[in-house]
């Protein structure tokens, strides 16, 4: 299992520890309901913890659910995923991870079929989709059946699957580059020929030929997602010194771990000044708790400022929720994206949108950082529901009767930032313009998983 990066909210770590200690036959159901309540109560929050928790839960589902065919597994993942999404619909990464894992399963299953399924074409094709559905429902009761029998049933579902979706669209670069003789010579004869990402000849050599092998392939695929999430900050930071140059005044808003890594990496090579905005006297305790766990006792971002200072980079803690007073001084703004939606809009910490708007008003560059796992294929028509409202307790005392009873008080924890305010997106794949986001989305998600649970 992928090692968990230090610095997560204690509740995620506790949750993951409990996963490890779990006896093998502990029900996935209870795990899911625990994750659901942790998410719902915001004890696991923020994109990275949510992504990791989601991937861990789905890993358990893959490993522990008794699934006899791929569709069963896909259904199960979707069910569990739905529960997780519903617990924290604002956190788009949950849906992203679910889509990634669904796509992974589809790819592995398609590969699997390719390996030993060629000869079965004739038998499996005539089976109707109704029969295939029936297999899914009865599969669980026929466990003693031999593996090969199950295998052929799993395979029989393929035509239905591919007919539901437009598999013909190439999903990865591999498809474009590989000249698969099978696909080319007889595109109509094999229903698997159009399988996404399956036509790479070299992948066909070493293949799992049974469900057990398929399972371990999927699990190692999920492990790769963990690795990706873990490496994101370093990969993003790798381009830091091309983005920041000597003498810059860089404004950051409540820097996340990703932004901190980026600044520190740049500071190793460049001398610049950092303006850290967003921390206000009263909000300090709560905001730092989420942004830099463990640092609540100290002044905001003390660790970051110390690190920068040791590299001779000045960091000024600006105690303000507005940015216009300082934007004249600033060259560029670097923000953390909690999620990037399909149109290029970004979900950011509440208040970061103001910083971007201030920068846009003065034509300063706005750079948004976020791993590919935060790029969501969703494009909600209304961004209101994506804004998360927080607890105003840090700002209003409960003894303040007139405020508590008569006045509606609201704190925006997150907000939506429209794409016209953003100049550059930096993911673990490098720096992109808005136009490139679309190809990132089509590279990472399957078309049939794009609209996962409708719009929320």
């Amino acid at each position: 299992m992928a090692p968990v990066q230090s610095g997560h909210a204690p509740n995620l770590r506790k949750f993951l520890d409990s996963l490890k200690g779990q006896s093998l036959d502990a029900s996935v159901e209870s795990l899911v309901s625990r994750a659901h309540s942790l998410l719902k109560r915001r004890q696991i929050k923020g994109p990275e913890p949510c992504a990791i928790a989601t991937a861990h839960i789905l890993l358990q589902v893959v490993a522990k659910t008794k699934w006899n065919d791929v569709d069963h597994l896909l259904d199960r993942i979707q069910q569990v995923g739905h529960k997780l999404v519903e617990a924290q619909p604002q956190e788009l990464v949950i849906g992203n991870i679910i889509r990634r894992i669904l796509g992974l399963i589809r790819d592995e299953a398609a590969e699997d079929r390719h390996g030993d399924g060629d000869g079965d074409d004739a038998e499996s094709l005539p089976e109707s989709s109704a029969a295939a559905t029936a297999t899914t429902t009865t599969a669980a009761t026929h466990e003693p059946e031999s593996r090969s029998a199950l295998q052929s049933r799993a395979l029989s579902r393929v035509p239905t699957l591919s007919s539901l979706s437009s598999m013909a669209i190439p999903q990865s670069m591999f498809n474009l580059l590989s000249a698969d003789p099978l696909v080319d010579s007889s595109p109509g004869s094999s229903p698997y020929g159009h399988g996404s990402g399956t036509s790479t000849p070299m992948l066909r050599v070493a293949q799992p030929t049974n469900l057990h092998g398929l399972k371990s392939e999927i699990i190692s695929g999920i492990d790769e997602i963990f690795d990706e999430i873990q490496q994101v900050d370093d990969q993003i930071a790798a381009v830091a010194d091309t983005q920041i140059y000597p003498g810059d005044f860089v404004m950051v808003y409540r820097p996340s771990a990703t932004v901190e890594r980026f600044l520190v990496k740049a500071a190793a090579k460049r001398k610049f000044t950092v303006l850290i905005v967003g921390e206000t006297a009263t909000a300090t305790a709560t905001a730092t708790a989420t942004a830099t766990p463990g640092g609540q006792q100290e002044a905001p971002y003390a660790a970051l400022r110390k690190k920068l200072k040791s590299l001779k980079v000045t960091a000024i803690n600006v105690t303000s929720s507005g940015a216009m007073a300082y934007i004249g001084r600033t060259n560029k703004v670097i923000l953390d994206a909690r999620a990037v939606v399909a149109n290029g809009g970004v979900i950011v910490d509440g208040g970061a949108g103001l910083v971007a708007r201030a920068a846009a008003g003065y034509s300063k560059a706005v750079i948004v950082l976020g791993g590919v796992y935060r790029v969501s294929p969703e494009e909600p028509s209304d961004f209101g529901p994506l804004v998360e409202w927080g607890n105003p307790a840090g700002h209003i005392g409960f003894t303040d009767g007139p405020m508590v009873s008569g006045v509606d008080v609201g704190i925006a924890e997150t907000e939506y930032m429209s794409p016209d305010l953003i100049d550059i997106y930096i993911t673990n794949l490098g720096a992109h313009s808005r136009n490139h986001l679309h190809s990132i989305i089509t590279d990472h998600y399957k078309k049939e998983d794009m609209e996962l649970y409708g719009s929320y």
Partner: protein, 352 residues
């Protein structure tokens, strides 16, 4: 070279708070608490008290500062006794008034209204007939200070509240920033006129002046939403129909000088296609200074000037982000753009 820098031990003497100002903001002034023992002996006790209140920000609103200053000057005038050899008009300003002004400025940089009022007061003194007796001169000046307070502070407030209230229509959803005094008056006036509307107050968490306003408006029956920080402003703006802000001052080029965050709100409002209405007494208008960004004229928050934090008290909003500046003049056209400031001032000085 990632070696940590050696920290030089702090000198024993008390640290100058200005040492902690980051270099890029070192040109800006900051209020300072002066121990009473260090104050100039010429400073009048009333002025000493006002100065302390300003330095500690217990007296912070620009117009309240102006009022307190003028009242204190009145006390200085009343207790003035000219030395036998010199005439009032020659002695008072350099030897009595200027030390008071210097002291007040040292406590906290003067607000624009104070600067304007002092300039007018000095002009008034210089126009005094040299033949008038000291008693008569003092009486005249005290009267003109009183008249000034009446006209430029009290009447102005009422008229601006009236003008701005007329801009509010039934069913409006007014968004405002902080607890701007004039905005509060305008909203109260509109409510008293029988209009029904809602108010959203965004606040600066370092300031929280909006809280008192939220409570007082609520007590009058107005539906109020309160947002303790600027986050999510674009979301709040979706429900708003007008944005009303209070100004600290207006520069000669039409830029508005307001509490830090005002500019952020104005920018977001413009992006949401909402009219931004600024309220400001003409005494706050500066006819010489111009500003394009917030770094030119500003003040450092003395409460937040440490290793850990830094804050500016004001920001500058370019006139392109404002739709109207409501003043106590120009009642007929009502909506003067910010750049018409100089014209308004000229008209005020020479109505013909």
């Amino acid at each position: 070279g990632a070696k940590p820098t050696v920290v030089i031990p702090a000198p024993l003497k008390e640290k100058d708070p200005r040492d902690l100002i980051p270099e890029c903001f070192s040109h800006l002034p900051m209020a300072k608490r002066i121990p009473l023992s260090q104050a100039d002996k010429d400073v009048h006790p009333v002025v000493l008290a006002v100065g302390q209140q300003m330095a500690t920000f217990t007296l912070r609103d620009n117009i309240r500062r102006l009022e307190a200053t003028l009242n204190a000057f009145k006390k200085v005038l009343e207790s003035y006794e000219a030395p036998p050899s010199s005439a009032f008009s020659r002695h008072f300003v350099p030897h009595v008034l200027n030390p008071q002004i210097e002291y007040l400025t040292e406590c906290r940089p003067m607000c624009f209204a104070m600067g304007n009022a002092i300039r007018l007061l000095k002009a008034r003194i210089s126009k005094l007939d040299p033949d008038t007796s000291d008693e008569e001169a003092i009486k005249t000046l005290c009267e003109s200070i009183e008249g000034f307070i009446q006209e430029r502070i009290y009447y102005a407030e009422v008229i601006i509240a009236r003008n701005a209230a007329d801009m509010i229509i039934q069913g409006d959803h007014i968004l405002t920033y902080g607890g701007a005094r004039l905005v509060g008056k305008a909203l109260e006036q509109a409510w008293a006129d029988g209009k029904t509307f809602e108010v959203a107050i965004l606040d600066d968490p370092c300031d929280r002046t909006g809280q008192a306003m939220a409570k007082s408006l609520r007590q009058q029956g107005i539906r109020v939403s309160y947002y303790p920080q600027l986050g999510g402003v674009s979301c709040h703006l979706q429900h708003a129909t007008k944005v009303m802000i209070g100004a600290e001052a207006v520069f000669a080029n039409g830029s508005l000088y307001g509490p830090a965050g005002t500019s952020d709100v104005a920018l977001a409002a413009q992006a949401a296609n909402l009219p931004v209405i600024a309220l400001c007494e003409t005494i706050n208008f500066d006819r010489e200074r111009v500003a394009t960004d917030s770094g030119m004229y500003n003040e450092i928050d003395p409460e937040r000037c440490t290793e850990e934090s830094f804050r500016l008290l004001f920001d500058t909003t370019r006139d392109k982000f404002l739709n109207v500046v409501v003043t106590e003049y120009e009642t007929i056209t009502g909506d003067a753009p910010a750049t018409a400031i100089l014209a308004i001032l000229r008209k005020q000085e020479d109505p013909n």
